[in-house]
Amino acid sequence: MTDTAALLGLDLCEAARRIRTGQVSSETLTRLALQRARAVQPRVNCFIAIDEAQALEDARAADRALARGDAAGALHGVPLAHKDMFYRAGRITTGGSKLLADHRPTVTATVAQRLQDAGAIWLGALHMAEFAANPIGQNDSFGDCRNAWDPARISGGSSSGSAVAVALRACYGSLGSDTGGSIRLPAALNGIVGLRPTYGRVSRHGILPRTWSLDTVGPMARTARDCARLLGVIAGADPQDATASALPVPDYERQLTGDIDGLRIAVPVNYFYDDLAPEVRQGLEDSLRALAGLGARIVEVPVPDPARLYQLGNLISQVEAAAIHADLVQRAGDAYPLVLKTRMQSGAYVPAVDYLGALSARARLAQEFAGAVFERADVLHVPVIGMVAPTREAATPAVSSEVFPLLARTARCTRPFSTLGMPALSVPAGFTPQGLPVAFQLVGRPFSEGLLLRAADAYQRVTDWHARAPIIPTT
């Protein structure tokens, strides 16, 4: 393995440690990551913009700060890149749409500020589904971002570039956002870890909204430990976001003990296993065996109707998206993407009474779900997505209306937990015979991110799926 491959193959926490201890400079890692970003971009289109000059300047500043003995943050000098929806005052943020090609926010997202305060380097803006609005990852505005393991296949979305760039080692970690599965799905389809935190665990101030009631911001990285590091930096109360919880942020990394002996893992007897590709089922079963081998106890549970949760979540999502985009749709006219407009327009026809009905049902549904599942188990183990990544051709049917069943099929295992506001983690669980990643999803009680990460970390200590890399162009 070349030095370049070895250094880019480090996980985020190890990269941070080596920078902190002076074994490698931030500038070196940043140069290598930029080089990798340029090399993979023509193949997978995972960046919307690469900010080379600024990233190198910041890296050199990080190295100088370290040489002065300035206190290093948890991400000091580590090259990251993020979904193009986190505002930094004065810098263009497109939300994956050329309709926002000149959009220069005047505020900085709380999470962006926290990353900067922790010393992270910002390599550039990563690709995403236009306006974070579909789980497939298609984008007519900037062209599709393609799967890291097979560019003929979809990347998943909407945090497409985040998953692909991390998988291809073009950055050590990334922030994504998840409304109905937009962190977990691309993470699963590209073989990395992606965490949708509890609704309220992470501030949304200064991010491009898709919905108010469902959007979350979360980490995407190669390991559970890396996600724990990132979550520890970005989580916590924010005076600028009333929905951000005031609960103290635990030391997530300290919770990664490797010990899950006696952990009760629920496996659902209904819904989630109804439509699984055999390769996905195999990956799920193998992961359960590995977790059981670590001392976890597997218990079967019936779960309260997830289809109902899916329906309510999608209803809330389309209504709020229609409200958020109403002005832009009007201004853009025919330039606004048709599929997107059609989906959102459905939300405009939902009576206010029904929208409020859907919102008001959530608390009781969460109680019902927690009672049914988390009284009997500590975490729930389910698929992230029942199919392997379809080809881009298959995801672009000749008859446009056929895209809607695909959208529903893609998010059927992720959206129910968005409706519930509960944390959910996508974890790599192996590969199909064609070499495509499969994953499992762990879901927990509200604010149990540490437990989910502990289970995933324990699993990653006895498996090596997360250490495998796609074939990467060398130029």
Binding site: Q311, S360, P405, R445, G450
Partner: protein
């Protein structure tokens, strides 16, 4: 496929041939079906109406958290 959720996207798919300009009348009829979805979700919500006020969802999440896992002091 098994019990794929029928929802707004499915309703829109039914209208797609006219998607360049959705017929509001047809859309209104179909969205009527949404009411049954919402009602199903609200069947359990017949108790204290203030507990169902949407902004109290966040309080419910906090109540459902396990103090040992959630970072409580």
């Amino acid at each position: 496929m098994a019990d794929t959720p029928s929802d707004l996207d499915a309703l829109v798919a039914a209208l797609w041939p006219q998607a360049g300009g959705i017929d509001p009348q047809r859309m209104a009829e179909l969205v009527g079906e949404v009411r049954s979805i919402v009602q199903a979700g609200r069947d359990a919500a017949r108790g204290n109406a203030f507990d169902d006020e949407p902004s109290r969802f966040a309080a419910t999440l906090h109540r459902l958290a396990d103090p040992g896992e959630a970072g409580h002091d």
